[in-house]
């Protein structure tokens, strides 16, 4: 290697890095790809899919619609699946709206003023991002059962909003911080009220941040499990619970379990891929502060 001219070494190095990157991506995506491919297999095929008959691509199908048999079952024959899927939506959408709005509102004073209690509030929010879920769920379980909100969608929405809010505020605040004061001052001098300044100046400029927080809030609410597990039983059950409890139900049809898993990922994966630039910027923006 030492005999190679420097330019050739550089090219070789870059080629090696490129190969490493591709390999890493392949390894990282492999579990997901295997799971998706397995979701197209029938229960019979999966049951027999072991050494020496092991194969990754589905084999026992004749028509295209055979491949999607599991999905057809999930969306039409399984009432529980549809019910819980709708519940998940009913939880995720309001939570996203509440969280994004509240974070927007809260980030403005935190970013722009020097309130007396600001550092305390910031610390409070920091601690709230780190609180382990069980610490809040045991008292909340007792309270909600007392009030009669147990097993309702709103119970989950409220708790989830409070759970996601602190981190969202941190991210939103970082975004607001990147909008320079001068623009706002100019608007205020021109006669805007603080409200208008917020609406017309800061929000349009911080729109990527707001989008990032909204996507993050939706993905987090969609993925939520423990809060729903504790605060609901059957009426307000969410899709993640359906999957997890599938495992402990009587007939564990693995193909259907895997299909449910993939199905649950579809909305969030689509969202993540659609808004990737936004999300990555949001995550990195929060990082630069730290």
């Amino acid at each position: 290697m030492r005999a190679l001219p420097r330019r050739k070494k550089k090219i070789l190095f870059r080629m090696l890095s490129y190969v490493l990157l591709c390999l890493s991506m392949f390894v990282i995506l492999l579990p997901f790809i295997i799971m998706v491919l397995n979701s197209f297999m029938s229960e019979h095929e999966i049951y027999l899919n072991h050494f020496p008959n092991f194969h990754i691509f589905p084999r026992e199908w004749n028509t295209l619609s055979d491949l999607f048999a599991n999905y057809r079952w999930l969306t039409t024959k399984s009432e529980r699946a549809i019910e819980t899927f709708v519940n998940s939506l009913q939880v995720a959408i309001p939570t996203t709206i509440i969280t994004t709005t509240a974070a927007c509102l809260a980030a403005y004073p935190l970013s722009r003023t020097n309130l007396k209690g600001k550092n305390t509030i910031l610390f409070m929010f920091l601690f709230a991002t780190m609180v382990p879920t069980m610490a809040i769920l045991i008292p909340l379980y007792l309270q909600f059962t007392k009030i009669g909100l147990y097993d309702t969608v709103w119970a989950v929405i409220i708790v989830l909003s409070g759970y996601i809010l602190p981190f969202s505020i941190w991210v939103m605040k970082s975004f607001f911080d990147t909008v320079p004061d001068s623009l706002e001052e100019a608007a205020l001098i021109d006669g805007c009220t603080r409200w208008k300044a917020l609406r017309k100046v800061i929000i349009p400029l911080a729109l990527p941040g707001i989008g990032a927080v909204a996507v993050y809030a939706f993905i987090s609410s969609w993925a939520e499990f423990l809060i729903a597990l504790v605060l609901t039983r059957s009426k307000a059950q969410v899709f993640t619970m359906y999957i997890a409890l599938f495992v402990s139900s009587e007939n564990i049809e693995i193909s259907k379990l895997i299909t449910a898993g993939v199905f649950s990922s579809i909305p969030v994966v689509i969202l993540a891929l659609l808004f990737q630039k936004l999300i990555v910027r949001g995550l990195m923006e929060g990082a630069v502060k730290g």
Binding site: Y18, L21, S24, M25, I28, L29, P31, F32, M35, N49, H50, F51, L105, A106, Y108, P109, N114, N119, I121, L122, F123, L126, A128, M130, V131, P132, T133, M134, A135, I136, I138, P139, L142, I158, V159, G162, L165, P180, D181, R194, W195, W222, A223, F225, L226, V230, I243, V247, I254, I258, S264, S265, V268, V269, L273, Q276, L283, A287, V288, G290
Partner: protein, 304 residues
Amino acid sequence: MEKIKPAKRRKSKFFLRRNIFVTSMLSPSVLIILAVMLFPTIYSFFMSLFDWRLGKPRQFIGLGNYIKLFTTPDILHSIWITILFAIAVTVLTIVFGLFLAVLLNMDLRGTNVAIALLLIPWALPPVVNGVMWGWMTNARMGSFNNILISIGVLSDFKVWISDPWYAFLIIVIATVYKMLPLSAFLLVASLKTIPKDIYEAAEIDGMSPVGRFFAITLPLVRPSMVIIFILLSVATFKAFDMIFVITQGGPGNFTAVLNFFAYMTTFRHMNFGLGAAMAFFISFLILIICVFYYRVTYREVRYD
């Protein structure tokens, strides 16, 4: 730095309006967070002072539950395994995250695609992540066993989750998988703050890429790594979903990290007091870490 301070000296109408404005914007968030996150945590502490079970009236036992925390072997093991879990996950996530971050920072062709694909593990619900890894390590039909047998490493199907340490390894891997994208992105962000000139200068001076990494990249990235280390380890204290789906805390409570064990104690054994004690114990640890973390990083200073 000049901010608009509309004559703070005189209590003008504008100043008063501004205060109401500011408080009304903060209040919804502060109220929700106080009500849902902070107040329950304090109430947890209150609950942990009682022998509080379902069906019996609660009895005040002071720190009795906490004594139980440190004398029951199962719970001690849970505390120990939680710490081990946090360290294992964080170290692995940072190491692999750094590896990915360096690759992503090199402006190779297709980096954008790589970043997009990396978002998939991040977006997956942890429950699905757990199902995925639980399935891959399934004794008969899982890919792990089948691939390993096909290439001759294993000679027979191995039941991974029935061995305590392999079960632990699996939940570590599953959690690292979930956290890897976040760690990689945070590290890329911090890598980007290193000016390219330093690398060029080192290259001209004849340093190899590996040398450049250890002499330049690592030292400059270390502050961020410490911060990410703290954030990630605190995040692992919240781990629940994957453990529920893959091992259910098994075999025999071996992989029951504290958050999970608190759930089992409270909702399976119906011992609210003890569960609250466990939960509050973690919160207390986290509070200390938080104070330390806040002191070190977030002194609010505005430049402009």
